[in-house]
């Protein structure tokens, strides 16, 4: 696969520490397009070895608006189904530039290891030194060891190490859309973290044509209702939830994921003056809110914004899904922040909210029917589009994305192919 790809798949066998590489077959791309279309195929191929498959969307990391997404595909310890979790912020983009389009991680390692994916090279190394560290310390550790603060880290904390079913794969320091307990899978495999960094070049079949179409698409997206809105507060408002007044006093800024017009993340300062413009002298002054439902849920429990975000931060450090913490504490009738905090290391119970679908319920439905929601998610996960932004922006239509995929790769993608892939991955 020559264009918009690194043309490489790594098969990482944790049981033997052997890593093999394959090319990304153009016929596979013609048939399955990319993203979840291909991670699904790779999962099926290696399913006897309990694989975790990481994949990039066909358009991830490009000038296509909101092309921020990569995904993790694996069998969820919570649902026992094949599920997909979104990798946003800068991690989805970084995987695309790491020199691999897909990573299949199979088998279990007998000792803690980490996977360092850089410039088309995947290396497994001993993680004894970092095992036991919380998520934040682990991210700091690998960035220091490899010498670059731009390294993107998919990492588990104590929750994953101790095989909590609610363990979440975190992105750097922040919560991700992993609502499937994939953190537990990392823990079972003794895989502490995956670090990504790449300085690759993605070539384009028709560069000028592609970029021109991206520009036109952005122009239309910018006319949409989200053009001047920002942050998790305004996103909540579209869900009929008013968190603005509650959250605003601690908001420091709103942050986008890679090339995503609407910033779906909000940074709050918890131990620092929120309106500070200069660089804080504190090393860890706050928290980036990436998960709207956890935020809204704790608010509904009656917690202050400060307490809520401190709890979210605790969850992120521990590497546990804040939604699970919320639900199980709610069920137990605990409402005090300190009680909730105390429950984190020993959290047990059954989640009732776990959905049976394949796509992470991290993405709100914004009034779409479940079928419509699922279809839009499938499209996002195939092409590598931010799964929240695609719901907000109908301009990112299937036709436009197919057209961009065709121009960018020089392959002819038809709506029939897309239909087939969607049918296959949602069945």
């Amino acid at each position: 696969m020559e264009y918009l790809a690194s043309n490489k798949i790594a098969i990482v066998d944790l049981a033997t520490s052997k890593i093999t590489e394959e090319g990304l077959d153009e016929d596979l791309v013609r048939e399955r397009i990319g993203g979840v279309g291909i991670t699904h195929t790779l999962y099926e191929k290696y399913k006897d070895e309990d694989p975790i498959v990481l994949g990039t969307g066909l358009l991830t990391g490009t000038l296509v608006p909101a092309s921020a997404l990569s995904i993790i595909t694996a069998k969820s310890p919570l649902t026992e189904n094949l599920c997909h979790a979104p990798l946003t912020l800068y991690a989805g983009m970084e995987l695309k530039y790491s020199g691999f389009d897909y990573l299949v991680i199979k088998g279990n390692s007998s000792r803690p290891v980490y996977l360092w994916v850089h410039d088309g090279i995947a290396d497994l190394s001993d993680a004894g030194e970092v095992w036991g560290k919380d998520v934040w310390a682990s991210t700091d550790w690998i960035r220091e060891a490899m010498g670059d603060l731009l390294i993107q880290v998919l990492v588990i904390g104590k929750a994953g190490e101790t095989l909590s079913p609610f363990a979440q794969v975190q992105i750097n320091y922040w919560q991700s859309g992993d609502r499937w307990g994939f953190g537990k899978l990392f823990g079972q495999k003794n895989l502490k973290l995956i670090a990504l960094r790449g300085l690759s070049l993605l070539e384009i079949s028709d560069p000028d044509g592609f970029v021109e179409k991206c520009k036109k698409l952005l122009f239309e997206v910018k006319k949409g209702p989200f053009a001047i809105k920002k942050g998790i507060g305004e996103m909540s408002a579209t869900l009929g939830e008013d968190v603005q007044k509650w959250l605003e006093p601690i908001v420091h800024s709103h942050r986008s994921c890679f090339n995503t017009p609407f910033p779906t993340n909000t940074f709050v300062f918890l131990d620092e003056e929120p309106k500070l413009l200069k660089e804080s002298k504190k090393n860890e002054p706050g928290f980036l809110i990436t998960d709207i439902y956890a935020l809204l849920g704790f608010k509904k429990l009656g917690l202050s914004a400060q307490d809520t975000c401190e709890l979210l931060r605790d969850c992120a450090r521990y590497g546990i899904d804040a939604n699970a913490v919320l639900e199980l504490n709610q069920k137990a009738g605990r409402k005090k922040p300190e009680e909730i905090k105390k429950s984190i290391p020993t959290l047990k119970g059954t989640l009732e909210s776990v959905r049976k679908g394949r796509f992470s319920p991290w993405t709100p439905n914004f009034g779409l029917s479940p079928d419509e929601w699922e279809r839009r998610q499938a499209v996002a996960y195939i092409f590598g589009i931010h799964p929240i932004f695609i719901q907000l922006s109908p301009e990112l239509s299937e036709e436009r994305l197919l057209e961009l995929a065709s121009i960018g790769t020089g392959l002819e993608f038809t709506s029939e192919t897309l239909e087939k892939v969607i049918a296959d991955i949602t069945k």
Binding site: R255, P263, F267, P285
Partner: protein
């Protein structure tokens, strides 16, 4: 005339950086972009956007703009040696002079944070 950034509007999405990389390499890459989002202080939520010009480094921080003479690193340092060979890594911003519609970073900024001054 040069590229300037309104930090209040910027959401650090890096669209400008990819657009600039495309302008240089005809593909998507970040190594040769002359506009960069410095993301190294993630935990502190402290970011800057840097534009490399012919003679200056334009550094836009939340608290304001700094224009730093290139080659004059820190106080009391000599200017760049006049016989130094260029490194040819990140070329200074040429305002996309070969593009009819002007700078690509500006056209791809989704929040209109980039302007010319």
């Amino acid at each position: 005339m040069g590229i300037r950034i309104d930090q209040k509007k910027c959401v650090l999405c890096m669209a400008c950086e990819v657009a600039c990389g495309y302008h240089r390499d005809d593909g998507f890459a970040f190594l040769s972009s002359c506009i960069m989002v410095t993301r190294g202080r993630e935990k502190k939520d402290y970011f800057a956007v840097v534009v490399k010009e012919e003679e200056n480094l334009i550094i836009v921080r939340p608290e304001g703009l700094e224009i730093r003479k290139l080659g004059a690193v820190g106080e009391g340092r000599e200017k760049e040696d006049a016989s130094a060979k260029p490194l040819l890594l990140r070329q200074p911003c040429d305002l996309c002079s070969d593009r009819e519609e002007g700078p690509l970073c500006l056209q791809f900024c989704p929040v209109d944070a980039i302007y010319l001054e």
